[in-house]
């Protein structure tokens, strides 16, 4: 057994709370974060059947405001932000001129001339620099890194609506998926969005950092009888993988395009212009050479990030994510494979510690909740 050594890291406003709750802490994207409290399997099952509360305050926020804010967002992101109404959210990509990912982001339309991008923790500085460099000078839009103004709590699972509703006067039943509203939660002014990274119904609550502990405790107390538990990044990763949601740095990065990641639905194909549009259009027309697929292991083995995939004995691609999932109880994962070998039912091999194990391409998502 070899175990990693501790290092010095950034902390969210809830760091002391996690330690009090007995969380096991790990480094993630430069942050000291809870990976698990009672155990990944326990927390994963709690989110699928009841609800779990996650501290995702490490996520970043970058706001873009000004008379040309929409044009600026349209230029730097792949999805069509013109389709957003105030109060609405979309999944999108910050793209390079090559159509690859600077990051994957959620775009919130806060007001007519004011957008907020929620970005990955490890990319905050990179994204902010990228955005300021790629908003043309003549454009009336300014970008501000507002990450330190928000703690972010995610309450996820079938019980989340009733639990959160007991703490707020905001109408959560009327809040549609990928919309947000503002209101008080436990008497703290918050932004509440119906979003998440687990495949379950749920909410993400943007809280002033000084009040994060108060809101966190209020949710856990209100949710106690419903079986709400604190959940860590370990369960967050297994939940998102079961729901086939991509993880930046694993499933896509600056070397993979939006089309290759099979995320054509976050491209505004009819948009006038955005970075990388020409590359993505020609890849869509001609078909990409490789594609991100879902797979299941046929042999008893777990494929993990970075393992090589083989077809007919030749190296054909790479596993980007993989684990044994607690709810489906299967070894699943995602991998880039040649497009002509990306059809469900295609068998391939994964090299695991010098041995080849059989896998088969399956349709995604692996898990879809019953509505």
């Amino acid at each position: 057994m070899s175990l990693p050594a501790p290092t010095s890291l950034k902390k969210t406003p809830l760091n002391a709370r996690h330690r009090t709750l007995g969380a096991r802490m790990v480094e993630f994207g430069g942050w000291d974060m809870p990976v698990e409290y009672s155990g990944i399997v326990d927390e994963h099952m709690a989110v699928r059947t009841r609800a779990g509360l996650f501290d995702v305050s490490h996520m970043g926020e970058i706001e873009i405001a000004g008379g040309d804010a929409l044009n600026a967002v349209q230029h730097i992101t792949s999805n069509d932000a013109a389709k957003l109404a105030v109060g609405q959210i979309q999944y999108s990509a910050l793209t390079t001129p090559q159509g690859t990912f600077v990051d994957d982001v959620l775009v919130y339309k806060l007001a007519d001339q004011h957008f907020m991008l929620v970005v990955n923790a490890s990319n905050i500085i990179k994204d902010f620099n990228w955005i300021t460099e790629h908003i043309p000078e003549q454009v009336d839009a300014v970008a501000v890194n507002t990450s330190s103004r928000y703690a972010l709590l995610a309450l996820q699972g079938p019980a989340s609506r009733d639990v959160l509703q007991s703490l707020t006067a905001a109408d959560l039943s009327g809040l549609k998926y990928y919309w947000f509203t503002t209101g008080e939660v436990a008497s703290v002014r918050c932004t509440i969005s119906r979003t998440g990274y687990t495949g379950e119904d749920g909410f993400e609550v943007f809280v002033p950092p000084a009040s994060a502990d108060r809101v966190w405790n209020a949710i856990l107390t209100a949710g106690q009888s419903a079986g709400v538990v604190p959940a860590g990044l370990g369960a967050r990763d297994t939940l998102r993988l079961e729901a086939s949601m991509r993880l930046y740095g694993n499933d896509m990065d600056e070397t993979t395009t939006v089309v290759e990641a099979d995320l054509g639905w976050i491209v505004g194909w009819k948009k006038q212009e955005f970075l990388g549009q020409d590359v993505l259009q020609s890849q869509k027309a001609e078909g990409p050479r490789r594609k991100l697929v879902g797979f299941e292991m046929l042999d008893r083995a777990i494929a993990r990030h970075g393992y090589d995939a083989y077809i007919d004995g030749a190296r054909a691609g790479t596993v980007t994510s993989g684990t044994q999932t607690p709810f489906l109880k299967k070894a699943i994962g995602m991998a880039y494979l040649p497009t002509d070998r990306s059809v469900p039912g295609t068998e391939f091999e994964v090299e695991i510690r010098g041995r080849r194990a059989q896998a088969t391409v399956v349709p995604m998502p692996f898990y879809k909740r019953q509505k």
Partner: protein, 123 residues
């Protein structure tokens, strides 16, 4: 907490020596660090393993770790029921033996920790 009849390694394996036979597993500290164990890969019976050599792999939901032999010897038994139910390692780490070895050099155990020393090490 740590049974007195076991010896321990700095890599968090335990070994239970009875005459010429040794059973090997991982400690409570190790299972806590790993989290939910979901997969165990163990050697074939008959394999000769040297002290400090990797004899298998243990995987939790989150991580892959190698297992190091606390003593040298020939593998005489592999706990097949544990590979079928690897989560037992979390529930009863010191009762979940993985392999049994026929110890080839009894003198090798002198540098292993006793329970009190190992408890100190994991504080």
């Amino acid at each position: 907490m740590y049974p007195a009849d076991l010896k321990y390694t700095k890599d968090h394996e335990w070994v239970r020596i009875a005459g010429a036979e040794a059973q090997v597993g991982i400690t409570d500290y190790a299972q806590k660090q790993l989290g939910d164990v979901v997969y165990l890969e163990l050697p074939e019976v008959g394999r000769q393993i040297r002290k400090g050599e990797v004899f298998g792999t243990i995987e939790s939901v989150k991580a892959v770790s190698e297992l190091y032999a606390p003593v040298s010897g020939e593998v005489t038994q592999v706990n097949a029921s544990l590979t079928q139910k690897p989560e037992a390692v979390n529930k009863d780490p010191h009762g979940s033996w993985m392999i049994a070895l026929k110890v080839s050099d009894p003198g090798e155990t002198s540098d292993l920790f006793d329970a009190a020393k190992y408890t100190e090490l994991t504080k």
